[in-house]
Amino acid sequence: MIQRHQDYLIRVPSVPVGGGEFSINLDTDAPFALRLVRSRNIGVSGWNFQTPRRQWQSSKLRTDVQAQFGTNFRPSRGSIIYPQMVYPVGGTIPILIGNETGAPILDAQLLFRGSKYFEPGRIAAPTYPAQVSPLKFDYQVVVPNVGGTDTIRFNQLRVKKDADFAVRFGVCDPFTPGVESGSPFGAPILAGDNLTDGPNFGQGAGVYVQLVDEVFKPYSNIPIHINDLFGQGRPLVPLSSGAANDDSVLFFPGLYTPEIYVQREHSLYVDVYREDGAGAPPVNLYFRFGGCKAFAR
């Protein structure tokens, strides 16, 4: 079987007080093996979902936050689902999202991360040459001047002709080095950041991204929050109020499992969608794709 990295994300514009039931419809091209669930904007209100056997995965609503001494809780990088759960082609994942806040939860998100299983020959699946010399390597793709409501598609990671490239993780930050006597506004902080930082380094607040392969087949059903797909560029401290801040997690790059193998002189694309509002200052997004070059011997 051929495995291919896949994310399914559900974004619920408003979860009413008391919670609600929702569902994700899976693609009809391949089964989906679920390996991780990550919530955003839900916090301790909790969530639940049904397994492929149509059983709820937990007896009550559960969370993916971590208890932390001295604070109420801290978000995690998601709850690992092990062993994996394989959903059928074109299946549905019923979901419960709780709401104990006393007010509607806006833009509740639940990310289901895993892998699609394809029959051999169904999709192009290049892999390593028979004999290979690996070299750790990072490619960088810069998407400049992303406005507060911009959509910039097909930003290209073009693999050089010397070697194939296995993409194993990604990191992204809106950062541009400041130069003395130059402007500190190369990459102002994104709106929504809740730390008092300097002006050159920011946090992805309302940036969503979607990886797309060379035949424009995406690796997710809809764009994913940049800090979930490309990891957390920098950890934030928990809010003093103890309120949910889904980006106050410890640093961890966005891992792609299985890795995404791109042959030399071929491409991987990143679509960028920003939702920070028209008043947000433009930023330069620096994507770093980490992995290894694979030289054929």
Binding site: V132, K136, D173, P177, P184, E259
Partner: protein, 273 residues
């Protein structure tokens, strides 16, 4: 027998224990400390060498750069920067200089990746070879700023340039006690004056976010300074008048000492029996 290895290409998942030491060799844990002093002015510095021991090849497994971690952000003392490393055979380990965080290192701040950022797969460095480093650190010159603090919101004004030149910029939030006054921004030289909006009862109706957006969307004002509203109530809390005053804290850059550690193994050839 060479100390170099060839991976099984079919093995897509490679934990460290997959890299077996070749027969006839022994891997001995070894750490290499290095340091460079480079300008903190934001200019790129290229090809800084660090020579390795000439007794045995070194297998590079991880890097820690405590001094250029970005975990704390600019204001809290860390110096974010871009980095590119070249192995001992002249191969760059990144296409260009990339932000050191994530790609090459993490700070060790708050025990995050205190054991170094993994180099995967490991890089075999020739005995006596030199690793080369390119750096471009964001300048540590101070940015002049001024802050207006509310009950649950903060509005910070930053100068448009790094360094002492930003200390000449001034900001004023003026209140005019007339009803239904519009929010306006005026600029004379390096003096920015924001006249706050009022409601029908002549009370201030501009929020912290309103003032931020008004300044940042006025090109003449943005050329002097930049406003940044933070806090849980930045969108709703009303600002107060602020008398005219200069931004402060703009300072010249100073050299930066970069210290790091390479973690890995020396690959020692076993003696013949």
């Amino acid at each position: 027998m060479t100390p170099y290895f060839c991976e099984d290409p079919k093995q897509l998942y490679k934990p460290q224990f997959a890299y077996a030491t070749p027969a006839g060799y022994r891997d001995i844990p070894y750490e290499v400390d290095f340091e460079f002093t480079i300008p903190g002015d934001g200019v790129m510095v290229r090809q800084l060498p660090h020579q390795l021991d000439d007794d045995e090849p070194f297998l590079l497994h991880a890097i820690v750069f405590p001094q250029i971690g970005t975990a704390l952000g600019v204001e809290n003392g860390a110096t974010p920067g871009l980095c590119r490393i070249w192995d001992t055979r002249g191969n760059p380990l990144s296409e260009d200089l990339v932000l050191a965080l994530g790609a090459n290192c993490q700070s060790g701040f708050d025990s995050i990746n205190g054991f170094g950022f993994p180099v995967e797969p490991a890089v075999l460095c020739d005995a006596g070879g030199a690793l080369l480093f390119d750096f471009q650190l964001s300048t540590n010159a101070g940015v002049a700023s001024r802050r207006l603090t509310g009950s649950a919101a903060v509005l910070t004004f930053y100068a448009a340039v790094y360094g002492t030149a930003g200390n000449s910029a001034t900001i004023q939030l003026a209140y005019v006690a007339t009803p239904n006054h519009a929010l306006t921004v005026g600029v004379v030289g390096s003096a920015v004056t924001v006249t706050l909006a009022t409601d029908g009862a002549s009370a201030i109706s501009s929020t912290f976010a309103d003032v931020q957006n008004a300044i940042n969307n006025t090109p003449a004002a943005f050329a002097v300074l930049f406003a940044y509203a933070t806090g849980d109530d930045a969108q709703t809390e009303l600002v107060t008048a602020l008398s005219s005053g200069a931004l402060a804290g703009g300072s010249a850059s100073t050299p930066v000492l970069i210290q790091g550690t390479l973690l890995g193994f020396k690959r020692r050839k076993e003696c013949a029996e």
